[in-house]
Symmetry: C2
Subunit: 125 residues, 2 copies
């Protein structure tokens, strides 16, 4: 339900703001968001669910992947999302994006979205 309360609730969590910021440059599959945030997958899925329920993101199924992207289909949501992108710490966001890039680079020939996080390092989340 996209009431104003639901929307504000969706925006009142740091992880979810990080996700919105991550999606700034285009859509991402869940496993890439997981890598960027360095969090376990069910946690990320939970937050994606909250954002989707509030109408702030949309998903698109493609093969076994699900890609999420921003949904700023009305003026109110558009301006909220813009505020988030503007007013959110760039330092933290840069780390998320860097982590994702490093990961994408490390995937040599394989195109699968294998999340190496847990084997590469003892993720704290």
């Amino acid at each position: 339900m996209e009431t104003i309360l639901t929307i504000f609730k969706a925006l009142s969590d740091e992880t979810r703001l990080r996700i919105l910021k991550l999606l700034e440059d285009g859509e991402l599959c869940v496993c890439n968001i997981v890598t960027a945030l360095d969090m376990i997958q069910p946690k990320v899925s939970f937050h994606l669910g909250v954002l989707k329920e509030a109408g702030l993101i949309k998903d698109r199924k493609h093969g076994r992947w699900i890609h999420y992207r921003l949904d700023d289909s009305d003026m109110f949501k558009r301006s909220l999302i813009l505020s988030v992108l503007e007013r959110t710490s760039n330092a933290a966001a840069a780390e998320d994006k860097k982590r994702l890039e490093m990961f994408l680079k490390s995937k040599n020939t394989k195109t699968d979205c294998i999340n190496l996080k847990n084997t590469l390092r003892g993720g704290n989340d």
Copy 2:
């Protein structure tokens, strides 16, 4: 702290949206807000504290009363508050304002801000 997260958290509660809506027409003292919302005073004070902490309202002490009013001193907060006033149910807000008016009318000669709620009716909050 007026981070964007603090602001969204402050906005993600129905009682607090009702308070903002109540303050639409000007400042009110705590006891009047208590009457309008038909809630107990510490509860209202708690929510006023959250809104104040987020920089969405300001207070002004006058005698033994403390008056609260909207604080839309920057563009971001201004547009958020406007959205709340616009997109919030008018029906519920009308009841709050009516309750306050009835109370103000019932105060004949006395100018004190005595909250008769609990003696007049068994408030459910």
